[in-house]
């Protein structure tokens, strides 16, 4: 039968493109680390590693949620605005109790996700448009809550969250690692994870198989919103200030880049959790390397843009059915 011949033929016709798509992010990350070990003074110092980890953690956390959303054939542009909302919640409630502040920040994340998810799942609005609303409005609401000002935060618990370390590893990095493992388990081992991939891969098929398509989509956006809110809390506690104008600004771009560079196609139907973490680390390292070697911030952004285009280029075959 011809049925057995086809698979081998397909595998042999792909080759290099597939390899770069699957492993490219790890290769690039490894190469960049080696380059820095040789060319950048003090790169391997504890202080520098800790700094890099603290800076990358919020991006990793946001990107994990973004990976689930993109896997479901969606996108969430409102993560930065959600971080700002969370930051404003912290400043509003921190006087009562730090735990209440964190709780209310996460509630803001749930509400944001519920709003986005409902627009996408029940009203059938395209994800990019549905989340654009909160992208625009969210930061405005956050500014209204804080009267548009930076609010300094003096709270020992929150301060500890931002500054303490566990065995030398910053708490925020520990949280990011735990979440990455949790999301990986969700994707690989749970029916919820399989449903996300089925919906992203072929929504009509998912409907036909009787999967709870709408609840799953809403849940995915809620998870993304909560993770963004958590990232907002971590950023706020690290800087000991709530600044809705700047918290999470442009993070949606970093998160989407991390997801795509990590091998998750924008067309959905696949989620690469480890790739997403590697993607976030890669972008962080690219940026800090360029800055350390005296390139301007704007030059660094151009390099970032080039990497995104390259990553999407290597994924273009994926979307073809």
């Amino acid at each position: 039968m011809t049925t057995l011949a086809r698979p081998t033929q397909l595998v042999s016709s792909e080759g290099a493109g597939t390899f770069i798509r699957e492993k490219g992010v790890y290769l690039a990350l490894g190469a960049l680390v080696i380059f820095n070990l040789i060319a950048t003074p003090n790169f391997a110092s504890l202080r520098n590693v800790q700094l890099q980890l603290v800076q990358v953690s919020p991006v990793v956390i946001v990107a994990l949620g973004m990976a689930l959303v993109i896997g479901s054939e969606g996108i969430d542009l409102s993560v930065g605005a959600t971080m700002a909302l969370a930051a404003s919640m912290v400043s509003l409630f921190v006087d009562r109790s730090p735990w209440m502040a964190i709780g209310m920040a996460l509630v803001a994340g749930v509400v944001a996700g519920l709003l986005n998810g409902s627009l996408v799942a029940f009203l059938g609005i395209q994800p990019i448009v549905a989340t654009l609303g909160l992208f625009v409005a969210g930061r405005g609401v956050a500014l209204a809550f804080t009267n548009g000002r930076l609010v300094e935060i003096f709270d020992p618990t929150l301060e500890a969250l931002g500054r303490e370390r566990l065995l030398g590893i910053p708490i925020s990095a520990v949280i990011a690692v735990i979440l990455a493992i949790a999301i990986a388990v969700v994707v690989r081992r749970t029916s919820f994870g399989r449903n996300i991939i089925a919906i992203g891969g072929n929504r009509r098929a998912a409907v036909g198989a009787g999967l709870p398509v709408r609840p799953v989509i809403v849940s995915v956006y809620i998870i993304c919103g909560v993770l963004a809110a958590l990232a907002g809390v971590l950023v706020t506690s690290r800087s000991a200030a709530s600044d809705p104008s700047f918290v999470g600004l442009l993070i949606e771009l970093s998160a989407i880049t991390a997801v795509v560079v990590g091998g998750t196609p924008l067309t959905g139907g696949r989620v690469r959790v480890l790739g997403t973490v590697a993607g976030a680390l890669l972008m962080q390292l690219v940026f800090s390397t360029l800055i350390r070697h005296d390139l301007s911030d704007s030059d660094a952004r151009m390099v970032q843009a080039a990497i995104i285009v390259a990553a999407v280029y290597f994924q273009r075959d994926r979307g073809a059915r």
């Binding site: 698979p7 036909g208 999967l211």
Partner: protein
């Protein structure tokens, strides 16, 4: 007859030996048809017969691999649709391709608006011209209104008028009535008759027998890419036409053994397990009722667009019904929810395997167990052992040929993908399966295997509703056959009544005593 007057002149458009190949398939194989001015020429055929390929060759979307088009006696070759249009070949598509927010008059003049000095559009002249033009075809509406605000039928006619107002010699009407109501169809026919009298050659694609016999002068039948009949409509009966489309000799005696089906030994239960009654959906279904018992295969027969797919989709909950109920084991199934249907034990094998079935980014394994979350997962966590058991069981039972269960499902052949989808259905242990074209687009061997499997399912006590465009599947595989036409059940056949001949009689609306027994 009107037609005879123009017959001695040369054809307005001649297709000579048109052949079009796509990778792996010859979509159109050496087709020659003459289209005369002043005639409505029907082009009919089932899905995949080559109608749309023929149209696209004529209107310049495709280039023929072999053969020529002769327009008014001279060979033509079009680089694209625009050239065909400029040469006088206009197409109105199923979906109306006009601008809903522009006015009726603007739509009629799109791309060639009358202008005054400095290039300003002469709105007044445009509106008077449009009003006059439409009046010729018996349409009187306010041409200043946005197109989107007038009815679909009017929009359709405006599309046609726009087509002919560019001095079209040939007008292609691709299923022009598919979105029209009966009285609107009459209006459209009036326009078509005016065009015919104006010596336009009309090419009319439709699935509806009534329309062909009412409005068309000539009919050409395509099947599997070849022209199998061409001639005056008055020389062919409805039954002959249906038989030609389906590739059967009219009055062909039932011959058994074309398929692998064997309905001997089936013992359908006496009580229906699933009953649908009065399924009605505007323009799609009217008052369709059917029931199916455990161990029984009920076949749905009918031409394309007769409502077969819509019937099973509405039972499954993919189509919202205007009215009608579905009950399963005596209790009603919540309408409009595939999730509930699956929970109640109803499974659907979709007609379009790629668009509605396969998840191309997932492995064979995950595709098979897609709908089986409840049996393989506990507290939301999927058990690998249970998944492997299930997958191995069905890969073996359905003889799915693969190199590894973790390979991408997109790498499998059509027949094996179809088996994967069947396995997905069986995984959640349904009581009723709705199979929409289970044997379409797969090779002969896989076809026989799937037919044999459907037998097994019935023997195991599943209730099966079977749709197939292959008449022999329905005839030889079913215990009962319901025939649909225009969204309604028009006949029911049981046991010995079932034959290709009797099914075709009902489809073609030939009154035979034994056939009409609903």
């Amino acid at each position: 007859m009107v037609t005879l007057v123009s017959r001695n002149t040369q054809p307005a458009l001649q297709a000579v030996g048109l052949t079009k190949r796509f990778p792996g398939v010859t979509a159109l194989d050496s087709v020659s048809i003459d289209f005369h001015a002043g005639e409505v020429h029907a082009v009919v055929g089932e899905n995949g017969a080559g109608k749309s390929t023929l149209i696209k060759l004529i209107n310049g979307v495709y280039r023929a691999d072999e053969g020529t088009l002769i327009l008014d006696g001279s060979p033509v070759e079009f680089a694209g649709p625009r050239e065909a249009w400029e040469a006088g070949i206009s197409t109105t598509f199923q979906e109306i391709n006009l601008q809903p927010f522009l006015s009726v008059a603007q739509n009629l003049h799109l791309g060639r608006e009358p202008t005054r000095r400095f290039g300003f559009v002469d709105v007044r002249r445009m509106n008077t011209d449009a009003t006059e033009l439409l009046a010729r075809y018996g349409i009187s509406i306010d041409v200043r209104k946005p197109l989107g605000s007038v009815g679909v039928a009017i929009q359709q006619m405006i599309a046609i008028v726009r087509a002919v107002s560019t001095d079209a010699k040939v007008v292609i009407l691709d299923e022009p009535t598919s979105s029209l109501e009966p009285n609107e169809v009459e209006q459209l026919f009036r326009v078509i008759r005016i065009l015919r009298d104006d010596n336009v050659a009309l090419l009319y694609v439709s699935h509806t027998m009534d329309e062909i016999f009412e409005i068309c002068d000539q009919v050409s039948v395509l099947r599997d890419g070849s022209l199998v009949h061409t001639g005056p409509v008055s020389d062919i009966t409805r039954l002959q036409l249906v038989a030609t489309m389906l590739g059967r000799e009219a009055r062909e005696v039932r011959t058994s053994g074309k398929t692998a089906f064997n309905i001997e030994g089936r013992s359908p239960g006496s009580e229906p397990i699933l009953s649908a009654s009065g399924l009605t959906r505007f323009r799609l279904l009217s008052d369709v009722s059917l029931d199916v018992s455990a161990g029984e295969v009920v076949g749905l027969a009918g031409l394309l667009g007769s409502g077969r797919t819509e019937t099973v989709e509405s039972i499954f909950g993919l189509i919202d019904l205007d009215s009608g109920t579905v009950t399963m084991n005596g209790s009603s199934v919540k309408a409009g929810s595939p999730t509930t249907s699956v929970q109640r034990g109803i499974g659907l094998l979709p007609e379009d395997r790629n668009a509605d079935g396969i998840v191309p980014t997932m492995s064979v394994r995950d595709n098979i167990t897609l709908a089986a979350n409840r049996s393989v997962a506990k507290w939301g966590f999927v058990s690998r052992a249970k998944v492997n058991n299930l997958v191995n069981h069905y890969v073996e039972r359905l003889q799915i040929k693969l190199t590894d269960v973790n390979q991408s499902v997109a790498e499998l052949s059509g027949g094996n993908q179809q088996k994967v989808l069947l396995a997905r259905l069986l995984c959640f242990e349904p009581e009723v399966v709705l199979l929409d074209e289970p044997t379409r687009g797969i090779d002969v061997g896989a076809k026989a295997e799937i037919q044999g499997l459907i037998d097994e399912l019935a023997l195991d006590g599943l209730a099966v509703i079977l749709i197939s465009s292959e008449l022999e599947d329905v005839v030889e595989g079913s215990n009962r056959v319901l025939v649909l036409r225009d969204g309604a059940v028009v006949g029911a056949l049981v046991g010995d009544q079932i034959s290709e001949e009797s099914v075709m009689d009902i489809i073609a609306d030939v009154k035979v005593d034994s056939a009409v027994s609903t």
